[in-house]
Symmetry: D2
């Protein structure tokens, strides 16, 4: 039976679940359990994540990153409030307006910046440009950072702290989209706390589906237990309160147990780094962005990319850019697959 040596670098969300995750789901399948997140697995989430982050943490388990992001933003933003995010942000480009939907017509405002990142000054300028017009304007209400970014780069703790400071001065709530949060932590070799609540982040969409789970994400609240009730109402009202939530919670518990999540993130980062080095050494191809997590954006010729495809390599042609492609490495990318990719590039 074919299992690996897949040469699929399209996206980490095409990867299967890790064995330990699947095992946890199987183990959660014994006997009856109270429904609607009143089960024993869900009951352990707050403690488990509080320990991981070293601070009291409220956990709202859900099935998708889109709903984790949307609940977080809707919980802190009035319908006439705006959320500032990078122009490449997933919430802006890939969620079909779920944040606007959950937030009853809130507005997302793009902030520009190189490498998928904006800085505190960029944010401040954009917010400043949108204030002072009273009820006629949207009211700046929140900022959302993506970590690691959509470009495969990573914000440093200091960069995050600076952005959070700016946001706080303007009474804006602070959210982090951590669909690939593990890759960022692995990359920075820091504690999860350092780049979240210690830097000022109040809400984190802690991603797990892309990095070894089936369908499990956790909306984490740091010092914002005031929005817990609203978040739970939004989860129910959007149809995301699974009756058998235990299977989601069991995934999350197994994911963060004994550092499994970081181990998997480290693996995918390492594979990305191997390929990045190969691109760097290539006479023609080059890197579009610094490679700091598990995504590699390669600038090359149409013919070059065609040769890779001919070699059986799967990757994402970037929409609207003939000269750009994305390669994503996952927890289950085999080292030999990365080697094959590098060889194909060099050919």
């Amino acid at each position: 039976m074919k299992r690996y040596l897949e040469l699929n670098f399209r996206s980490d969300n095409e990867s299967p679940a890790a064995d330990a995750i699947m095992q946890a789901v199987v183990e959660a399948n014994l006997g009856t359990a109270w429904a609607y997140a009143d089960d024993e697995w869900s009951a352990r989430l707050d403690d488990a994540f509080s320990e991981l982050f070293g601070t009291p943490t409220t956990v709202i388990p859900v099935s998708t990153g889109t709903i984790a992001n949307s609940i977080a933003l809707a919980a802190v933003t009035p319908p006439w409030g705006s959320v500032y995010c990078h122009r490449n942000a997933h919430i802006l480009n890939d969620e079909s307006g779920a944040p606007e939907f959950l937030g009853n017509g809130l507005r997302l405002v793009p902030v520009d910046g190189p490498g998928g990142k904006f800085n505190a000054a960029d944010l401040d300028r954009m917010v400043h440009a949108n204030t002072g017009h009273g009820v006629h304007s949207y009211q700046p209400a929140a900022v959302s950072l993506t970590q690691s970014t959509e470009s495969g780069t990573v914000y440093s703790a200091a960069e995050i702290a600076a952005i959070c400071d700016t946001a706080r001065q303007r009474d804006m709530a602070i959210h982090m989209d951590g669909a690939r949060f593990g890759n960022a932590v692995a990359s920075l070799d820091c504690s999860p706390a350092e780049i979240t609540w210690k830097a000022g982040v109040e809400m984190l969409s802690f991603g797990a589906s892309k990095n070894g789970c089936m369908a499990a994400e956790a909306l984490l609240l740091f010092g914002r237990s005031d929005v817990k009730d609203t978040a739970e109402r939004l989860r129910k009202r959007s149809g995301h309160l699974l009756s058998k939530m235990r299977y989601v919670s069991a995934q999350l518990l197994a994911y963060i147990k004994d550092g499994l999540w970081l181990e998997m993130a480290m693996h995918s980062n390492e594979q990305a780094a191997v390929f990045a080095a190969a691109v760097d050494a290539h006479p023609e191809a080059c890197l579009e962005y610094p490679v700091e997590a598990n995504e590699v954006f390669v600038q090359w010729t149409v013919e070059g990319f065609q040769r890779l495809e001919d070699a059986g390599i799967e990757f994402l042609h970037w929409p609207g850019r003939d000269d750009l492609a994305r390669f994503v490495f996952s927890h289950c990318t085999e080292e030999s697959a990365t080697v094959r990719l590098c060889e194909a590039l060099a050919d």
Copy 2:
């Protein structure tokens, strides 16, 4: 390891997944698969359900019944449209307004009727009472039937057809909430087609989570492929397009394979019938509604219910009714557990 002889009759949504379902999930976990329902499992759904129902069927896989119901109703109802449903309907009482949310403020109108069922005349009278006031009123847009009902009863094919006729005459769309659809089919010993599209039902929330799955429901469209695009937009926009949809679709495929779903439904119906007979034979306790599926509503004394609890039996005290309790039987209720329940009742 304790697995069974649980005396838990609170709800079928507290039951674990059936072994075959879990096995299917494990088998779906090999290798990478295209994301967002472009996988091979999801690709087989239309054919599998078309065969089961004997008519071309469009399948929208989702994780919860609430979202299946809400997408269906929102897809056919304008914000100023109303949906007629039974006063006890789940969409009205237990979904925190998810249909109103997905439908941008549509209105649910309760219709009364004994045993959790309303009939065509009830519907017609209610709709008639709400028309003729132009833009000032909500516009009747859809009817939603629950099968089996919230009271554990079942609509006959003829009853459904009569309701559908009435709805069609008023240009209303027709939805069935089939959270316990399997129990209804098993009860009537009919084909799934007879009580759905052949009777006039256009959209069915085909439930699986309560009857042996982890988290899997299918919104089925019969002759309404015109709303497929809208339904898919609503699924994405509400955060319900799982990147790894394969695990949901794999559950659904296993669920309907070789009649597994009906076998499980039959089992829970049978256990319910055994207990219903015991209640019927009891000198004091009596049945609140005819028992036609897997739910038994028992009218009794506070002391009586207390004795059951003292015997370790778990069930649902009906909110607001001291003299009423609900017992639900599931695919994994052991026969010996039902026997113990009957004995405890008789004591």
Copy 3:
């Protein structure tokens, strides 16, 4: 030029504006004025209404009763909150879901009661029946009373106080739809304060359009300045912040100046009373409800109503009731018109 002796008793919202109101609009038309309710007329509203009600009052001027009601309810009710109102309420039956729209899918819950009124016990029972189910249910958030009611009856101060007490005990906000508030005050011969803030009402849709204005209503906040900002945001966002608000505010100021509003309400109440006496004295026709304001609901035969129409009388056949019709008297109903109506009835 035909001006009066119109035999139009269909609705007070078909009446023209009173001369003094039109005069105020004309006078407001001199020179430029700051836009968006920053004009001098709007600036005087808070003081003028605070004096009228004998308590600090925040005034939000708008053009329609529907938006006054909807803004009030949306400002105090979350999307998953419910508003309790009488089954005949305008907000429930005649506003096409504007409260649901402004409130992002809030739910209106009808309460039954004779004569268009419900009492504290009715409310309490209904709210009780809808609580205790956590995130699965709508959360009772507000109660809305109509004064005078849709049936032409009037709540006493004591009745209102009892309802408000019940609402407060359940942490529900309290709104009064006063589309015909003047008729209620005139009927009770009380101060406006007695049946509003002194009894516990927090928000009043103070109607003026039906009683002599062109298009002017005031949302009044008593002790709820906390929702002022939200109310103003909702007004803008729903397109109701007129650039030239001065014309609305000028109407409101003229309306409450020197008791004009009560004078007009008293006139229409008196005309209604004259007709009510005639109905009472009639051998066949009878009153459906006590006549306490400016509306008279007459139960009679189809032939009887036909005779009135043949005599050139215009009135409203009640939808769905062949034996019921409504006659509304306005600030400009001429006494001779009422006499003619009574004669036609007696014929």
Copy 4:
């Protein structure tokens, strides 16, 4: 009594109503009239505007430009659809998200372009950049042009036609925000038809409030009677169906009668041109944009603007730009006031 020689150039929406408009309102105040736009004035709108535009035109009278714009866009755009407009558009910056609200979370996408205008190629590029990502992305649904623009410039008929062609090729609906439509027609000296339906515009927010009315706008549908019902539902549901709509309709009829609207627009354009010439001739101050309608944007020094204020001139300091101010001329700007302004500039 002070009436004129006001030196107020802040905004045309601060001007009073023209005498003929007020006279029409007074004349509409005789006797009763059917409510909710079933009056004789409203009944004449379709014919009157059809004649003015030389094509069958459906008219939806409303009180504000914000709601006219929002109804139009919401009627043709699904919640997951996007509307393309200029970055300076009123719908984007000054309506507090009313289009998003009416459109249940639709998205506005800014298009850049000099002088407040974008061209067909700009639009095409922006739309192209946002397509091809299926349910994950917003779906381009409409384009909204502002005529005259927020910068006081005017699109030619050819420019409009080119934009409409592009939109049609992408199945996008076409709306024009004509808050200052009269100024554009007066500027181009064309027929209203040439720059609307003949060029491809399907829906026009025909503004009147800024140019001599109290509170009156008309949403016009050309060849889009298919959205009439939806538009009327949205008007009601947003609280904009005035019971006494006759006063709005009477304003509109008087406004377009015998060319009054164009006469007034011509006057304000002429006054703007006089001032523009003075700015042009000034050694320091200069025009930020070509002056093609009734708005003049002046670039100058802080000291210069201060001198104008010291001379009693009122105008708008542009938010975020110390060196920019806006001067708007209205139907009632006296020639002597313009002269005084020019003198103050020259001082």
